[in-house]
Protein backbone atom coordinates (compact mmCIF):
# COMPACT_ATOMS: atom_id res chain seq x y z
CA UNK A 1 0.00 0.00 0.00
CA UNK A 2 1.67 3.23 -1.06
CA UNK A 3 2.50 5.70 1.61
CA UNK A 4 1.33 3.63 4.56
CA UNK A 5 3.51 2.14 7.22
CA UNK A 6 1.90 -0.93 8.70
CA UNK A 7 2.26 -1.55 12.40
CA UNK A 8 0.87 -5.06 12.28
CA UNK A 9 -0.41 -7.76 9.95
CA UNK A 10 -3.99 -6.59 10.10
CA UNK A 11 -5.46 -3.12 10.00
CA UNK A 12 -8.83 -1.84 11.13
CA UNK A 13 -8.57 1.58 9.49
CA UNK A 14 -6.53 2.73 6.50
CA UNK A 15 -6.17 6.30 5.24
CA UNK A 16 -4.79 6.76 1.73
CA UNK A 17 -3.34 10.05 0.56
CA UNK A 18 -6.03 12.19 2.15
CA UNK A 19 -6.26 15.93 1.57
CA UNK A 20 -8.58 18.35 3.32
CA UNK A 21 -8.61 22.10 2.73
CA UNK A 22 -10.44 24.98 4.38
CA UNK A 23 -10.32 27.64 1.69
CA UNK A 24 -6.61 28.36 1.19
CA UNK A 25 -5.53 26.42 4.30
CA UNK A 26 -4.46 22.83 3.79
CA UNK A 27 -5.53 21.17 7.04
CA UNK A 28 -4.57 17.64 5.97
CA UNK A 29 -1.87 17.10 3.36
CA UNK A 30 -1.28 13.79 1.60
CA UNK A 31 -1.84 11.83 4.77
CA UNK A 32 -1.60 8.04 4.72
CA UNK A 33 -1.54 5.70 7.69
CA UNK A 34 -3.07 2.54 9.04
CA UNK A 35 -4.44 1.63 12.45
CA UNK A 36 -3.89 -1.79 13.99
CA UNK A 37 -6.73 -3.40 15.91
CA UNK A 38 -6.80 -3.73 19.71
CA UNK A 39 -4.03 -1.16 20.13
CA UNK A 40 -3.78 2.41 21.29
CA UNK A 41 -2.56 4.61 18.45
CA UNK A 42 -1.89 8.18 19.47
CA UNK A 43 -1.87 11.10 17.10
CA UNK A 44 0.37 13.90 18.32
CA UNK A 45 1.60 17.18 16.95
CA UNK A 46 1.75 20.87 17.81
CA UNK A 47 -1.39 23.01 17.96
CA UNK A 48 -2.91 23.37 14.50
CA UNK A 49 -1.20 20.20 13.23
CA UNK A 50 -4.55 18.79 12.06
CA UNK A 51 -5.17 16.18 14.76
CA UNK A 52 -8.79 17.06 15.51
CA UNK A 53 -9.40 17.71 11.81
CA UNK A 54 -8.24 14.16 11.16
CA UNK A 55 -10.75 12.79 13.71
CA UNK A 56 -13.45 14.90 12.06
CA UNK A 57 -12.44 13.50 8.66
CA UNK A 58 -12.53 9.89 9.91
CA UNK A 59 -15.99 10.36 11.48
CA UNK A 60 -17.41 12.07 8.39
CA UNK A 61 -17.92 15.48 10.03
CA UNK A 62 -15.63 17.03 7.39
CA UNK A 63 -15.77 15.59 3.86
CA UNK A 64 -12.36 14.93 2.27
CA UNK A 65 -11.18 16.90 -0.76
CA UNK A 66 -9.38 13.82 -2.03
CA UNK A 67 -8.03 10.51 -0.83
CA UNK A 68 -9.82 7.61 0.79
CA UNK A 69 -10.40 6.18 4.23
CA UNK A 70 -11.25 2.49 4.62
CA UNK A 71 -12.72 0.93 7.75
CA UNK A 72 -12.39 -2.87 7.69
CA UNK A 73 -11.99 -2.59 3.92
CA UNK A 74 -15.16 -0.49 3.49
CA UNK A 75 -14.66 2.99 1.99
CA UNK A 76 -16.12 5.46 4.48
CA UNK A 77 -14.89 8.81 3.15
CA UNK A 78 -18.21 9.52 1.38
CA UNK A 79 -20.35 8.34 4.27
CA UNK A 80 -22.33 10.48 6.71
CA UNK A 81 -21.38 10.52 10.41
CA UNK A 82 -24.37 8.41 11.50
CA UNK A 83 -23.50 5.73 8.92
CA UNK A 84 -19.90 5.66 10.12
CA UNK A 85 -21.10 5.32 13.72
CA UNK A 86 -23.35 2.43 12.69
CA UNK A 87 -20.34 0.70 11.11
CA UNK A 88 -18.46 0.73 14.43
CA UNK A 89 -16.55 4.00 14.83
CA UNK A 90 -17.39 6.45 17.59
CA UNK A 91 -15.68 9.41 19.16
CA UNK A 92 -15.46 11.98 21.91
CA UNK A 93 -14.82 15.70 21.48
CA UNK A 94 -12.11 18.03 22.75
CA UNK A 95 -14.72 19.80 24.87
CA UNK A 96 -17.36 17.33 25.96
CA UNK A 97 -20.40 17.77 23.70
CA UNK A 98 -23.09 16.43 26.00
CA UNK A 99 -26.82 16.88 25.61
CA UNK A 100 -27.64 19.29 28.42
CA UNK A 101 -31.38 18.81 27.88
CA UNK A 102 -31.17 15.15 28.97
CA UNK A 103 -30.17 13.29 32.11
CA UNK A 104 -26.76 11.63 32.45
CA UNK A 105 -28.39 8.22 31.86
CA UNK A 106 -30.29 9.46 28.79
CA UNK A 107 -27.02 10.80 27.37
CA UNK A 108 -25.73 7.23 27.41
CA UNK A 109 -29.03 5.78 26.17
CA UNK A 110 -29.00 8.07 23.13
CA UNK A 111 -25.56 6.65 22.29
CA UNK A 112 -27.22 3.30 21.59
CA UNK A 113 -29.24 4.78 18.73
CA UNK A 114 -27.27 3.03 16.01
CA UNK A 115 -27.67 -0.36 17.71
CA UNK A 116 -31.41 -0.14 18.31
CA UNK A 117 -34.39 -0.15 15.99
CA UNK A 118 -37.61 1.39 17.33
CA UNK A 119 -38.91 3.94 14.82
CA UNK A 120 -41.64 6.59 14.78
CA UNK A 121 -44.48 4.06 14.89
CA UNK A 122 -42.90 2.21 17.81
CA UNK A 123 -42.29 5.53 19.55
CA UNK A 124 -45.91 6.63 19.10
CA UNK A 125 -47.56 3.35 20.12
CA UNK A 126 -45.01 1.78 22.53
CA UNK A 127 -45.75 -1.84 21.49
CA UNK A 128 -44.27 -4.67 23.66
CA UNK A 129 -41.22 -5.02 21.36
CA UNK A 130 -40.39 -1.34 21.77
CA UNK A 131 -40.86 -1.51 25.54
CA UNK A 132 -38.50 -4.51 25.75
CA UNK A 133 -35.90 -2.69 23.67
CA UNK A 134 -36.27 0.41 25.84
CA UNK A 135 -35.73 -1.68 28.98
CA UNK A 136 -32.58 -3.24 27.49
CA UNK A 137 -31.28 0.22 26.52
CA UNK A 138 -31.85 1.45 30.08
CA UNK A 139 -30.15 -1.60 31.65
CA UNK A 140 -27.18 -1.32 29.34
CA UNK A 141 -26.95 2.40 30.00
CA UNK A 142 -26.94 1.81 33.74
CA UNK A 143 -24.25 -0.82 33.44
CA UNK A 144 -22.08 1.51 31.33
CA UNK A 145 -22.50 4.24 33.93
CA UNK A 146 -21.42 1.75 36.61
CA UNK A 147 -18.36 0.78 34.57
CA UNK A 148 -17.37 4.43 34.35
CA UNK A 149 -18.18 5.22 37.98
CA UNK A 150 -21.10 7.51 37.16
CA UNK A 151 -24.01 5.30 38.13
CA UNK A 152 -25.16 7.25 41.25
CA UNK A 153 -25.49 10.37 39.11
CA UNK A 154 -27.67 8.85 36.38
CA UNK A 155 -30.57 11.24 37.00
CA UNK A 156 -28.37 14.35 37.12
CA UNK A 157 -28.04 16.92 34.42
CA UNK A 158 -24.62 16.68 32.70
CA UNK A 159 -23.91 20.34 33.53
CA UNK A 160 -23.66 19.46 37.21
CA UNK A 161 -20.87 16.92 36.67
CA UNK A 162 -17.19 17.78 37.07
CA UNK A 163 -15.11 18.14 33.89
CA UNK A 164 -13.60 14.70 34.51
CA UNK A 165 -17.05 13.15 34.93
CA UNK A 166 -18.28 14.89 31.78
CA UNK A 167 -15.36 13.41 29.84
CA UNK A 168 -16.16 9.95 31.22
CA UNK A 169 -19.83 10.42 30.37
CA UNK A 170 -18.90 11.23 26.80
CA UNK A 171 -16.80 8.06 26.66
CA UNK A 172 -19.79 6.12 28.05
CA UNK A 173 -22.00 7.58 25.30
CA UNK A 174 -19.45 6.61 22.66
CA UNK A 175 -19.09 3.09 24.11
CA UNK A 176 -22.87 2.69 24.08
CA UNK A 177 -22.77 2.19 20.32
CA UNK A 178 -20.35 -0.75 20.86
CA UNK A 179 -17.68 0.71 18.59
CA UNK A 180 -14.73 -1.37 17.43
CA UNK A 181 -12.79 1.84 16.94
CA UNK A 182 -12.97 4.57 19.57
CA UNK A 183 -11.54 8.02 18.86
CA UNK A 184 -10.67 10.08 21.93
CA UNK A 185 -9.99 13.77 21.40
CA UNK A 186 -7.89 15.16 24.26
CA UNK A 187 -9.58 13.13 27.00
CA UNK A 188 -7.40 14.60 29.78
CA UNK A 189 -7.50 18.26 28.74
CA UNK A 190 -8.54 20.30 31.77
CA UNK A 191 -8.21 17.39 34.21
CA UNK A 192 -6.07 17.43 37.37
CA UNK A 193 -3.25 14.91 37.96
CA UNK A 194 -5.44 12.41 39.82
CA UNK A 195 -8.18 12.57 37.19
CA UNK A 196 -5.57 12.28 34.41
CA UNK A 197 -4.17 9.11 35.98
CA UNK A 198 -7.67 7.67 36.35
CA UNK A 199 -8.41 8.47 32.69
CA UNK A 200 -5.15 6.78 31.65
CA UNK A 201 -6.15 3.68 33.61
CA UNK A 202 -9.59 3.73 32.00
CA UNK A 203 -8.07 3.89 28.50
CA UNK A 204 -5.80 0.94 29.32
CA UNK A 205 -8.79 -0.99 30.71
CA UNK A 206 -10.65 -0.34 27.46
CA UNK A 207 -7.69 -1.65 25.47
CA UNK A 208 -7.63 -4.76 27.64
CA UNK A 209 -11.27 -5.26 26.62
CA UNK A 210 -10.03 -5.45 22.99
CA UNK A 211 -11.00 -1.88 22.18
CA UNK A 212 -9.07 -0.23 19.36
CA UNK A 213 -8.34 3.37 20.30
CA UNK A 214 -7.09 6.41 18.42
CA UNK A 215 -5.98 8.98 20.96
CA UNK A 216 -5.36 12.63 20.24
CA UNK A 217 -3.60 14.12 23.21
CA UNK A 218 -1.12 16.83 24.24
CA UNK A 219 -0.15 15.21 27.54
CA UNK A 220 3.11 13.54 26.48
CA UNK A 221 3.54 11.70 29.76
CA UNK A 222 0.20 9.96 29.23
CA UNK A 223 0.76 9.41 25.50
CA UNK A 224 4.21 7.87 25.92
CA UNK A 225 3.00 5.77 28.83
CA UNK A 226 -0.01 4.08 27.23
CA UNK A 227 0.41 4.21 23.45
CA UNK A 228 1.43 1.24 21.31
CA UNK A 229 2.02 3.38 18.24
CA UNK A 230 2.37 7.07 17.51
CA UNK A 231 1.62 9.10 14.40
CA UNK A 232 3.10 12.61 14.38
CA UNK A 233 1.46 15.39 12.38
CA UNK A 234 2.85 18.79 11.52
CA UNK A 235 1.00 21.33 9.33
CA UNK A 236 -1.45 18.60 8.31
CA UNK A 237 1.25 16.20 7.08
CA UNK A 238 2.68 13.10 8.69
CA UNK A 239 6.30 13.65 9.74
CA UNK A 240 6.82 10.38 11.53
CA UNK A 241 5.33 7.28 13.07
CA UNK A 242 6.50 4.44 15.21
CA UNK A 243 6.68 3.09 18.72
CA UNK A 244 6.90 5.68 21.52
CA UNK A 245 10.60 4.99 22.16
CA UNK A 246 11.35 5.41 18.44
CA UNK A 247 9.41 8.66 18.18
CA UNK A 248 11.23 10.12 21.15
CA UNK A 249 14.48 9.71 19.18
CA UNK A 250 13.14 10.87 15.80
CA UNK A 251 15.00 14.05 14.78
CA UNK A 252 12.17 15.53 12.68
CA UNK A 253 9.71 14.98 15.46
CA UNK A 254 12.00 16.51 18.06
CA UNK A 255 12.53 19.51 15.83
CA UNK A 256 8.86 20.02 15.05
CA UNK A 257 7.31 19.20 18.35
CA UNK A 258 9.07 17.59 21.27
CA UNK A 259 12.02 19.94 21.16
CA UNK A 260 9.93 23.06 21.21
Amino acid sequence: MPGTACQGDKTILVAQEIFLRFGGLEALHNLSFSIAPRQITSIIGPNGAGKTTLLNAITGVYPLDSGKIFYRGIPISQMKPFQITALGINRTFQQAQLFANMSVLENVMVGMHAKTKAGFLGGLLHPPGERREEMNIREKGESLLSFLGLWPKGAWRPGHLSIGEQKRLEIARALASEPDLLLLDEPVAGLNIRETEAMGELIIRLKEKSQTIILVEHNMHLVMGISDWLIVLHHGAKIGEGRPEEIQKDKRVIEAYLGT
Partner: protein, 328 residues
Protein backbone atom coordinates in the same frame (compact mmCIF):
# COMPACT_ATOMS: atom_id res chain seq x y z
CA UNK B 1 -43.96 8.61 29.37
CA UNK B 2 -43.40 8.98 33.13
CA UNK B 3 -45.99 8.53 35.85
CA UNK B 4 -46.24 12.31 36.27
CA UNK B 5 -47.21 12.74 32.61
CA UNK B 6 -49.74 9.89 32.84
CA UNK B 7 -51.41 11.48 35.88
CA UNK B 8 -51.41 14.92 34.19
CA UNK B 9 -52.96 13.42 31.06
CA UNK B 10 -55.65 11.65 33.08
CA UNK B 11 -56.54 14.84 35.00
CA UNK B 12 -56.50 16.79 31.73
CA UNK B 13 -58.83 14.30 30.01
CA UNK B 14 -61.22 14.16 32.98
CA UNK B 15 -61.35 17.98 33.12
CA UNK B 16 -61.93 18.29 29.39
CA UNK B 17 -64.68 15.67 29.26
CA UNK B 18 -66.48 17.05 32.31
CA UNK B 19 -66.51 20.64 30.99
CA UNK B 20 -69.65 20.22 28.82
CA UNK B 21 -71.57 19.54 32.04
CA UNK B 22 -70.90 23.17 33.01
CA UNK B 23 -70.72 24.76 29.57
CA UNK B 24 -74.03 24.19 27.84
CA UNK B 25 -73.61 27.29 25.67
CA UNK B 26 -72.98 26.26 22.05
CA UNK B 27 -70.73 29.26 21.44
CA UNK B 28 -68.43 28.27 24.31
CA UNK B 29 -68.34 24.69 23.07
CA UNK B 30 -67.53 25.86 19.55
CA UNK B 31 -64.59 27.95 20.80
CA UNK B 32 -63.30 24.91 22.70
CA UNK B 33 -63.78 22.69 19.64
CA UNK B 34 -61.66 25.07 17.58
CA UNK B 35 -59.10 25.03 20.43
CA UNK B 36 -58.96 21.21 20.21
CA UNK B 37 -58.24 21.46 16.47
CA UNK B 38 -55.62 24.16 17.05
CA UNK B 39 -53.99 21.86 19.62
CA UNK B 40 -53.58 19.21 16.90
CA UNK B 41 -51.72 21.68 14.67
CA UNK B 42 -49.71 23.13 17.54
CA UNK B 43 -48.57 19.73 18.89
CA UNK B 44 -47.02 18.95 15.52
CA UNK B 45 -45.43 22.39 15.33
CA UNK B 46 -44.12 22.01 18.87
CA UNK B 47 -42.37 18.78 17.89
CA UNK B 48 -40.89 20.52 14.84
CA UNK B 49 -39.83 23.68 16.65
CA UNK B 50 -38.80 22.21 19.97
CA UNK B 51 -37.14 19.05 18.74
CA UNK B 52 -35.97 19.69 15.19
CA UNK B 53 -35.25 23.36 15.82
CA UNK B 54 -37.10 24.33 12.63
CA UNK B 55 -39.79 26.96 12.17
CA UNK B 56 -42.53 26.45 9.63
CA UNK B 57 -44.64 29.34 8.42
CA UNK B 58 -46.68 27.10 6.18
CA UNK B 59 -48.78 25.05 8.53
CA UNK B 60 -51.91 26.97 7.49
CA UNK B 61 -51.33 25.48 4.03
CA UNK B 62 -51.23 21.91 5.43
CA UNK B 63 -54.31 22.73 7.51
CA UNK B 64 -55.96 24.06 4.33
CA UNK B 65 -54.89 21.06 2.24
CA UNK B 66 -56.52 18.72 4.76
CA UNK B 67 -59.68 20.84 4.79
CA UNK B 68 -60.03 21.32 1.02
CA UNK B 69 -58.95 17.81 -0.06
CA UNK B 70 -61.38 16.27 2.37
CA UNK B 71 -64.17 18.71 1.47
CA UNK B 72 -63.76 18.37 -2.31
CA UNK B 73 -63.52 14.58 -2.37
CA UNK B 74 -66.41 13.98 0.01
CA UNK B 75 -68.71 16.70 -1.41
CA UNK B 76 -67.93 16.81 -5.16
CA UNK B 77 -66.95 13.17 -5.61
CA UNK B 78 -69.01 11.66 -2.76
CA UNK B 79 -66.11 9.60 -1.41
CA UNK B 80 -66.54 8.07 2.06
CA UNK B 81 -65.60 10.44 4.90
CA UNK B 82 -62.90 8.75 6.99
CA UNK B 83 -60.95 7.13 4.10
CA UNK B 84 -60.93 10.58 2.46
CA UNK B 85 -59.60 12.22 5.63
CA UNK B 86 -56.88 9.54 5.66
CA UNK B 87 -56.16 10.13 1.96
CA UNK B 88 -55.86 13.88 2.59
CA UNK B 89 -53.32 13.13 5.33
CA UNK B 90 -51.31 10.90 2.96
CA UNK B 91 -51.31 13.51 0.16
CA UNK B 92 -50.33 16.28 2.62
CA UNK B 93 -47.56 14.04 3.98
CA UNK B 94 -46.20 13.50 0.47
CA UNK B 95 -46.21 17.24 -0.26
CA UNK B 96 -44.51 17.98 3.09
CA UNK B 97 -41.91 15.33 2.27
CA UNK B 98 -41.18 16.92 -1.10
CA UNK B 99 -40.75 20.35 0.53
CA UNK B 100 -38.80 19.00 3.49
CA UNK B 101 -36.22 16.92 1.61
CA UNK B 102 -34.38 19.80 -0.09
CA UNK B 103 -34.93 22.49 2.53
CA UNK B 104 -34.18 20.58 5.72
CA UNK B 105 -30.84 19.40 4.34
CA UNK B 106 -29.67 22.99 4.28
CA UNK B 107 -28.37 24.84 7.31
CA UNK B 108 -30.26 27.92 8.48
CA UNK B 109 -33.86 28.92 8.17
CA UNK B 110 -34.54 27.76 4.61
CA UNK B 111 -37.60 25.90 5.79
CA UNK B 112 -39.16 29.17 6.95
CA UNK B 113 -38.78 30.67 3.48
CA UNK B 114 -39.91 27.52 1.67
CA UNK B 115 -42.98 27.02 3.84
CA UNK B 116 -43.86 30.71 3.68
CA UNK B 117 -43.73 30.55 -0.12
CA UNK B 118 -45.71 27.31 -0.09
CA UNK B 119 -48.41 28.89 2.06
CA UNK B 120 -48.77 31.78 -0.36
CA UNK B 121 -48.94 29.40 -3.36
CA UNK B 122 -51.64 27.25 -1.74
CA UNK B 123 -53.59 30.37 -0.78
CA UNK B 124 -53.49 31.64 -4.38
CA UNK B 125 -54.52 28.20 -5.71
CA UNK B 126 -57.49 28.12 -3.32
CA UNK B 127 -58.62 31.50 -4.63
CA UNK B 128 -57.87 31.00 -8.34
CA UNK B 129 -59.14 27.44 -8.91
CA UNK B 130 -62.66 28.61 -8.38
CA UNK B 131 -64.30 25.73 -10.26
CA UNK B 132 -62.83 23.21 -7.81
CA UNK B 133 -62.38 25.15 -4.58
CA UNK B 134 -65.19 27.68 -4.79
CA UNK B 135 -62.66 30.51 -4.92
CA UNK B 136 -62.97 33.49 -2.57
CA UNK B 137 -66.65 32.68 -1.95
CA UNK B 138 -65.63 29.49 -0.25
CA UNK B 139 -66.76 25.87 -0.38
CA UNK B 140 -70.09 25.02 1.19
CA UNK B 141 -72.24 21.97 1.83
CA UNK B 142 -69.49 19.80 3.28
CA UNK B 143 -70.92 16.67 4.91
CA UNK B 144 -70.85 16.52 8.70
CA UNK B 145 -68.62 14.16 10.63
CA UNK B 146 -70.04 10.68 11.02
CA UNK B 147 -69.01 7.51 12.79
CA UNK B 148 -71.08 4.49 11.78
CA UNK B 149 -74.59 5.83 11.48
CA UNK B 150 -74.00 8.51 14.13
CA UNK B 151 -73.80 12.08 12.81
CA UNK B 152 -71.97 14.74 14.79
CA UNK B 153 -74.50 17.46 14.10
CA UNK B 154 -74.09 19.65 17.18
CA UNK B 155 -71.21 21.43 18.92
CA UNK B 156 -71.87 19.24 21.95
CA UNK B 157 -71.43 15.99 19.99
CA UNK B 158 -68.43 17.27 18.04
CA UNK B 159 -66.80 18.32 21.33
CA UNK B 160 -66.31 14.71 22.42
CA UNK B 161 -64.97 13.60 19.04
CA UNK B 162 -62.45 16.40 18.45
CA UNK B 163 -61.24 16.40 22.04
CA UNK B 164 -60.84 12.60 22.03
CA UNK B 165 -58.72 12.93 18.87
CA UNK B 166 -56.79 15.88 20.32
CA UNK B 167 -56.06 14.06 23.61
CA UNK B 168 -55.17 10.91 21.65
CA UNK B 169 -52.66 12.90 19.57
CA UNK B 170 -51.18 14.38 22.75
CA UNK B 171 -50.87 10.90 24.30
CA UNK B 172 -49.10 9.54 21.21
CA UNK B 173 -46.81 12.58 21.01
CA UNK B 174 -45.90 12.26 24.70
CA UNK B 175 -45.13 8.59 23.99
CA UNK B 176 -42.96 9.65 21.08
CA UNK B 177 -40.81 12.10 23.03
CA UNK B 178 -40.21 9.45 25.70
CA UNK B 179 -38.84 6.90 23.25
CA UNK B 180 -35.69 6.21 21.27
CA UNK B 181 -36.98 8.62 18.62
CA UNK B 182 -37.70 11.28 21.26
CA UNK B 183 -34.18 11.04 22.63
CA UNK B 184 -32.79 11.35 19.11
CA UNK B 185 -34.96 14.43 18.50
CA UNK B 186 -33.91 15.99 21.82
CA UNK B 187 -30.27 15.31 20.95
CA UNK B 188 -30.51 16.87 17.50
CA UNK B 189 -32.27 19.95 18.85
CA UNK B 190 -29.44 20.52 21.32
CA UNK B 191 -26.28 19.68 19.37
CA UNK B 192 -26.60 18.50 15.81
CA UNK B 193 -22.96 17.49 15.25
CA UNK B 194 -22.81 15.48 18.48
CA UNK B 195 -26.15 13.90 17.56
CA UNK B 196 -24.83 12.87 14.13
CA UNK B 197 -21.74 11.35 15.71
CA UNK B 198 -23.96 9.51 18.19
CA UNK B 199 -25.42 7.67 15.20
CA UNK B 200 -28.52 9.78 14.54
CA UNK B 201 -29.60 10.54 10.99
CA UNK B 202 -30.41 14.15 11.84
CA UNK B 203 -31.53 15.12 8.32
CA UNK B 204 -33.87 12.14 8.14
CA UNK B 205 -35.34 12.91 11.54
CA UNK B 206 -35.98 16.54 10.63
CA UNK B 207 -37.89 15.52 7.52
CA UNK B 208 -39.89 12.88 9.42
CA UNK B 209 -40.87 15.34 12.18
CA UNK B 210 -41.86 17.90 9.54
CA UNK B 211 -44.02 15.31 7.75
CA UNK B 212 -45.59 14.21 11.05
CA UNK B 213 -46.46 17.81 11.92
CA UNK B 214 -47.99 18.31 8.44
CA UNK B 215 -50.09 15.14 8.91
CA UNK B 216 -51.47 16.46 12.22
CA UNK B 217 -52.29 19.83 10.57
CA UNK B 218 -54.04 18.01 7.71
CA UNK B 219 -56.12 15.95 10.15
CA UNK B 220 -57.09 19.14 12.01
CA UNK B 221 -58.04 20.78 8.68
CA UNK B 222 -60.24 17.88 7.61
CA UNK B 223 -62.02 17.80 10.97
CA UNK B 224 -62.48 21.57 10.78
CA UNK B 225 -64.05 21.35 7.31
CA UNK B 226 -66.50 18.61 8.31
CA UNK B 227 -67.33 20.39 11.57
CA UNK B 228 -67.96 23.91 10.24
CA UNK B 229 -69.25 22.51 6.86
CA UNK B 230 -68.06 25.67 5.10
CA UNK B 231 -64.49 26.71 4.33
CA UNK B 232 -62.95 29.71 2.60
CA UNK B 233 -59.33 30.59 1.74
CA UNK B 234 -59.10 33.34 4.38
CA UNK B 235 -58.94 30.73 7.17
CA UNK B 236 -55.81 29.20 5.64
CA UNK B 237 -53.82 32.33 4.98
CA UNK B 238 -50.31 33.06 6.21
CA UNK B 239 -51.81 34.72 9.32
CA UNK B 240 -53.03 31.39 10.66
CA UNK B 241 -49.47 30.03 10.25
CA UNK B 242 -48.16 32.90 12.39
CA UNK B 243 -50.95 32.37 14.90
CA UNK B 244 -50.06 28.72 15.49
CA UNK B 245 -46.33 29.48 15.76
CA UNK B 246 -47.24 32.16 18.35
CA UNK B 247 -49.24 29.56 20.28
CA UNK B 248 -46.14 27.36 20.50
CA UNK B 249 -43.92 30.26 21.56
CA UNK B 250 -46.35 31.55 24.19
CA UNK B 251 -46.91 28.05 25.61
CA UNK B 252 -43.24 27.17 25.52
CA UNK B 253 -40.96 25.67 22.90
CA UNK B 254 -39.93 22.10 23.66
CA UNK B 255 -42.91 21.28 25.86
CA UNK B 256 -46.01 19.58 24.51
CA UNK B 257 -48.00 20.65 27.57
CA UNK B 258 -46.84 24.18 26.85
CA UNK B 259 -48.13 23.86 23.29
CA UNK B 260 -51.51 22.72 24.60
CA UNK B 261 -51.63 25.63 27.05
CA UNK B 262 -50.65 28.12 24.31
CA UNK B 263 -53.28 26.79 21.90
CA UNK B 264 -56.09 26.89 24.48
CA UNK B 265 -55.16 30.36 25.76
CA UNK B 266 -54.69 32.00 22.38
CA UNK B 267 -57.89 30.46 20.99
CA UNK B 268 -59.96 31.67 23.91
CA UNK B 269 -58.25 35.06 24.44
CA UNK B 270 -59.49 36.82 21.24
CA UNK B 271 -63.04 35.67 22.05
CA UNK B 272 -62.78 37.06 25.59
CA UNK B 273 -61.34 40.31 24.21
CA UNK B 274 -64.38 40.85 22.00
CA UNK B 275 -65.83 42.47 25.12
CA UNK B 276 -63.43 45.39 24.78
CA UNK B 277 -64.40 45.93 21.13
CA UNK B 278 -61.94 48.15 19.21
CA UNK B 279 -59.17 47.73 21.79
CA UNK B 280 -59.08 43.97 21.49
CA UNK B 281 -56.12 43.77 19.05
CA UNK B 282 -54.17 46.24 21.17
CA UNK B 283 -54.75 44.27 24.38
CA UNK B 284 -54.09 40.96 22.61
CA UNK B 285 -50.70 42.27 21.42
CA UNK B 286 -49.90 43.69 24.85
CA UNK B 287 -50.65 40.35 26.57
CA UNK B 288 -48.43 38.50 24.09
CA UNK B 289 -45.63 41.00 24.67
CA UNK B 290 -45.89 40.71 28.47
CA UNK B 291 -45.84 36.91 28.31
CA UNK B 292 -42.81 36.77 26.02
CA UNK B 293 -40.89 39.41 28.03
CA UNK B 294 -41.51 37.85 31.44
CA UNK B 295 -41.60 34.19 30.33
CA UNK B 296 -39.19 34.00 27.40
CA UNK B 297 -39.21 30.18 27.62
CA UNK B 298 -43.00 30.15 27.51
CA UNK B 299 -45.84 30.22 29.99
CA UNK B 300 -45.72 26.53 30.89
CA UNK B 301 -42.04 26.60 31.70
CA UNK B 302 -42.57 29.85 33.65
CA UNK B 303 -45.32 28.30 35.74
CA UNK B 304 -43.20 25.19 36.40
CA UNK B 305 -40.25 27.35 37.46
CA UNK B 306 -42.42 29.30 39.89
CA UNK B 307 -43.62 26.00 41.44
CA UNK B 308 -40.07 24.60 41.57
CA UNK B 309 -38.75 27.76 43.25
CA UNK B 310 -41.50 27.63 45.88
CA UNK B 311 -40.65 24.00 46.55
CA UNK B 312 -36.86 24.29 46.84
CA UNK B 313 -36.23 27.95 47.57
CA UNK B 314 -33.14 28.19 49.74
CA UNK B 315 -30.19 30.61 49.74
CA UNK B 316 -27.46 29.57 47.32
CA UNK B 317 -29.67 27.17 45.39
CA UNK B 318 -28.68 26.67 41.81
CA UNK B 319 -31.19 28.26 39.40
CA UNK B 320 -31.01 25.11 37.30
CA UNK B 321 -32.15 21.91 39.01
CA UNK B 322 -29.42 19.34 39.44
CA UNK B 323 -31.72 16.51 38.54
CA UNK B 324 -33.02 16.22 35.03
CA UNK B 325 -36.75 16.58 34.58
CA UNK B 326 -38.67 14.34 32.25
CA UNK B 327 -39.52 15.82 28.90
CA UNK B 328 -43.01 17.31 28.87
Amino acid sequence: MGTKNKICLLIYALTIFSLPAILRNNYHLMVLNVAALNILVVIGLSLLLGYAGQISLGHAAFFGLGAYLSAIFTTTYSLPLWPTILMAMVITAMIAYLIGIPTLKLEGHYLVMATLGFNVIIYIILIQFEAVTGGPSGFAGIPRLQVGGWTFDSDFKVYFLVWAISIGALLLSLNLIHSRVGRAMAALSHNEIAARCAGIDTEGYKVKIFVLSAILASLAGSLYAHYITFISPGTFSFFYSIQVVTMVLVGGVGSLWGAVLGAILLTILPEVLHAVKEYNVLIYGFILMVVLVFFPRGLFSGIMEVFAQKKTAAPGDSPEPRFSEKRT
